[in-house]
């Protein structure tokens, strides 16, 4: 099971600014001076070994879109945030010309950051392509049509070339999608959101974004522990610090890195991937939160270590 992240930022897409890039170059050069990098060979080694992710690369800024490889010829993705544009290009590159793609989309909810990529999702324009958009909300089709209505977008949904079908899922009821057993779970978020557990060949992955966890409700905690139980990978909304999540941003519908680690530890999860990054955070800040979260896991570790990563646009994980 391979997972590919096309969009990992929450709420609104962001982009690196020229000031951000200048800052990365400054940090790299200061380190290079410090390390005495003065030959091309040393430079290569320095780049490969001495620069951390927040200097050398970027977490990216596209809003949520995560692809799960199916190995069946069909495609499967969670959410249609702005990352869906690049996913669409990827799908076209692997199918067109010759084959009209079949794409399964599973929607956590229809807030704008999770649907805004769809008008730029190339397979939707391909005659003969099949798109099945799955989700538990009644309003998914309405939301997709609405965002492409005049005067907000030049191409009305009705003019899309693909055969597009909306498939309603039921929370708690497993459904077969592109070779996976997929079970939705209701999550706390304004207008509701749904997490999804994907299972196949003894492996399991949970996509749980835009989900606030109320710490005072042990029954709710127990439900999520069961939903995450023994998962090989949990993609988790870790947008806020715990302080923010229980104070100024309480009831904003998102969660923290701390609660992510606690739930994953209680559930025996193997790998927690922090997702839906705060748009106000730059790469340094996300890296710092990741380092702190890894440290928190070390401090609170039980019998088994929990692997922790922070998702970035373009990241691939094998489950």
């Amino acid at each position: 099971m391979r997972v590919r992240f096309w969009g990992t930022r929450g709420s609104i897409p962001v982009a690196l600014t020229s000031a951000d890039i200048r800052r990365k170059i400054e940090r790299a050069l200061v380190l290079a001076l410090d390390k005495g990098v003065n030959t091309p060979e040393k430079l290569q080694s320095f780049i490969d070994n001495d620069l951390d992710f927040s200097i050398l690369q970027t977490y990216g800024g596209h809003s949520p879109c995560v692809e799960i490889e199916t190995g069946t010829g069909e495609f499967l993705a969670c959410d249609m945030g702005s990352g869906a544009r690049a996913l669409g290009a990827h799908i076209m590159g692997h199918t067109w010309p010759g084959t009209a793609p079949v794409v399964n989309i599973v929607m956590s909810h229809v807030h704008w950051d999770h649907i805004m990529g769809f008008p730029f999702f190339a397979p939707a324009y391909v005659p003969g392509a099949r798109l099945r958009i799955h989700g538990c909300h009644e309003v998914i089709e309405q939301a997709f049509r609405l965002q492409q209505s005049a005067p907000c977008f030049p191409v009305d949904f009705a003019r899309l070339g693909a055969n597009i079908e909306f498939v309603r899922l039921e929370p708690g009821k497993a459904t077969e999608i592109a070779g996976y057993r997929v079970t939705p779970k209701l999550q706390r978020h304004t207008g509701d959101s749904y997490g999804y557990r994907f299972e196949r060949d003894g492996k399991s992955l949970v996509y749980s974004t835009d989900s606030e966890h109320k710490l005072e409700d042990p029954a709710e905690t127990a439900e999520f522990v069961e939903f995450f139980r023994d998962a090989d990978l949990v993609i988790f909304d870790a947008m806020y610090s715990l302080l923010d999540a229980v104070s100024v941003k309480e009831d904003w519908g998102h969660s923290s890195n701390i609660v992510g680690v606690e739930l994953a530890q209680m559930a025996g999860v193997r790998h927690l991937c922090m997702f839906h990054h705060e748009p106000a955070f730059n790469d340094e800040r996300i890296q710092s939160v990741l380092n702190e979260t890894i440290r928190f896991e070390e401090l609170t570790r039980g019998e088994r270590a929990l692997r922790i990563t922070a998702a970035y646009d373009g990241m691939e994980l094998d489950v």
Binding site: D244, F296, L299
Partner: protein, 125 residues
């Protein structure tokens, strides 16, 4: 949860013990409530002495936040002192140090809050 305390006049030092986690955070909150209720502009300032607390989960930290919110709205003050290294790191990673004044020792906390209470503490009251 019973929380033992020491009274130094206008400062009250509260001494919870053990783990404050998902299993007992509500008990901790209930144990703290009577003290927080009286923590107002004319009442005693509170020092949470965490010498004997070896772990705080997110649910426990939420209780700290609720207590701080209530005290602040009443004009009261709550500070935290003598955290064990693990608890101190959890506090920092959770960003709770942005809300709570923290002190290395109870004496430092009391000294900051009230000279009179410090005298009482030094006198072994």
């Amino acid at each position: 949860m019973d929380i033992s305390n020491k009274d130094y006049g206008d400062v009250l030092v509260l001494m919870p013990a053990g783990r404050i986690d998902h299993a007992n955070s509500e008990n901790f909150r209930n144990g703290l409530a009577p003290f927080v209720e009286k923590c107002n502009s004319g009442g005693k300032k509170l020092v949470l002495d965490l010498t004997s607390v070896d772990y705080i989960s997110s649910a426990g930290l939420r209780c700290f936040m609720l207590a701080e919110k209530q005290a602040k709205s009443q004009g009261g003050t709550i500070v935290v002192a003598a955290m064990q290294p693990v608890v101190k790191e959890i506090f920092e990673i959770s960003r709770f140090t942005l809300v709570f004044a923290t002190f290395g020792t109870v004496r430092e906390a009391v000294a900051k809050l009230s000279p009179a209470a410090l005298k009482a503490l030094d006198a072994g009251a």
